[in-house]
């Protein structure tokens, strides 16, 4: 299966281990990520005011690229578009939904993109990698596991953008299970915890660092209290807030025990038996390697 892949800014920079591990694990499962040529930034956050169409141009332009790939037969996945970053997925999906539901707005957007060879018709289906994996079948993934993650207690962190609002969420907004099903397929033990869908503070990390440190402190402590060895996420901004902000937490509270925060794809790649050195853990501030070596790899 060859699928158009939208990376977004983070995956090419400080979340490169997310991209590398996702691509490597996909290849192992026969899912080939074909990077969208000339992709552009999605805008990170969706414009919510009814009169602001301008900010939907950038997401829709990426969807035109997907249709072009489809026409050129570089991909074979019926207009699907693969995303890894939760925020990109949310923004792209919300714009797409707007285009699908409002023909007049779609027409206006198309008028603005007169330099494109192709018009957008609302036919692209934006999907998260987790959804693709679910479609592939968690049972089938379980059969391909070479290194079982048995004994590893993982706290799945959904955050906001993966499950809210309901119209674009990939799972139930209140009781999501997709991460738990994924973890069970790898042999790991998902931890049930309250903070799995509590906001980490998002972009307030820029100008209201204290709020973010307070919120992430509570989230991290909750994971520890419930016996988690590590946390997984699919959002590079959550990962930054949960992982990088632990330095400050340690300064403020000497009893704070750091906890590794990994991308779900890193665990998938390990479970599929891929070389851990190839997709890197260089982005992680709290080093997860000693734990993984101790619990999984050196068994």
């Amino acid at each position: 299966m060859k699928i158009p892949y939208f990376p977004g800014c983070s995956l090419k920079t400080y979340a490169s281990s997310f991209e590398k591990s996702a691509i490597a694990s996909g290849a192992e499962l026969g899912i080939e990520f074909v990077e969208i040529p000339r992709w552009n930034c999605c805008g990170v956050v969706s414009s919510l005011t009814s009169d602001d169409l301008m900010h939907h141009l950038a997401p829709v332009r990426n969807m035109i690229r997907v249709l072009e790939m489809q026409n050129d037969k570089i991909v074979d996945t019926d207009n699907k578009m693969l995303t890894l970053c939760s925020m990109c997925m949310n923004t792209l999906k919300r714009s797409n939904l707007k285009m699908q539901e409002h023909a007049d707005e779609l027409e206006t957007i198309n008028d603005f993109m007169y330099k494109e060879d192709q018009k957008y018709d609302g036919s692209v289906q934006v999907m998260h990698y987790l959804e693709i994996l679910k479609e592939y079948g968690f049972a089938k993934i379980a059969e391909k596991v070479k290194v079982s993650l048995k004994g590893l207690k993982v706290a799945p962190y959904y955050g906001c953008m993966l499950i809210r609002p309901k119209e674009v969420g990939i799972d139930d907004a209140e009781e999501p299970t997709i991460f738990e099903d994924f973890l069970k397929a790898l042999g790991a033990e998902p931890v049930d915890w309250r903070s799995k869908k509590t906001c980490c503070g998002s972009y307030l990390t820029v100008n209201k660092e204290n709020i973010v440190v307070k919120l992430t402190g509570k989230i991290l402590e909750d994971a520890r209290r419930n016996g988690a060895d590590l946390i997984i996420t699919s959002c590079p901004l959550c990962a930054f807030n949960l992982d990088s902000r632990q330095e400050l937490l340690q300064i403020r509270n000497p009893n704070f025990e750091p906890i590794p925060v990994l991308y779900f794809s890193q665990l998938l790649a390990i479970a599929l038996g891929l070389d851990i050195n190839k997709f890197g853990f260089e982005n992680n501030k709290v080093d997860g390697m000693p734990l993984l070596k101790n619990k999984i790899l050196n068994k």
Partner: protein
């Protein structure tokens, strides 16, 4: 303490403006407080999301001066829980936009020290600039 609230053309116009921008019908709000109860930021806010809703319903323009607008990070917890299916995050966005369209920014990138800018990921900077500045 009694507070006198006057409803007039001005308050009605403000309420209509917020409704137009957000696409939400604020009269649907029952003031049940579910939005405030679930909001992860409520402790940091000067007025709760339910209070913000009430102010909008009454067309009180001073709602634009509250910190709550800029603390709400659109996590959508209230949105998925509102029993009247109101999208409170869209109302907060409409209020932010009213300020931003008057070129009153909440964040000036020049105020951020260089070392802080350097360590912040693009995803955080772009999101913050789009939400908090015009």
């Amino acid at each position: 303490m009694t507070k006198k609230i006057v409803l007039n053309e001005k308050t009605l116009a403000f309420q209509k403006k917020v409704e137009e921008l957000s696409g939400e019908n604020t009269a649907m709000c029952d003031q049940c407080g579910t939005c405030s109860g679930g909001c992860p930021f409520v402790e940091e806010m000067d007025i709760t999301p339910a209070q913000l809703m009430r102010k909008v319903m009454l067309g009180q323009e001073d709602v634009l001066e509250c910190d709550t607008l800029w603390i709400c990070a659109t996590c959508n917890t209230c949105t998925v829980r509102c029993p009247r299916k109101l999208d409170v995050s869209k109302i907060a966005e409409a209020l932010r936009q009213i300020k931003l369209r008057d070129e009153i920014n909440n964040l000036d990138i020049n105020d951020l020290p260089k070392n802080v800018l350097k360590e912040l990921p693009q995803i955080a900077l772009i999101a913050a600039l789009r939400k908090l500045s015009s």
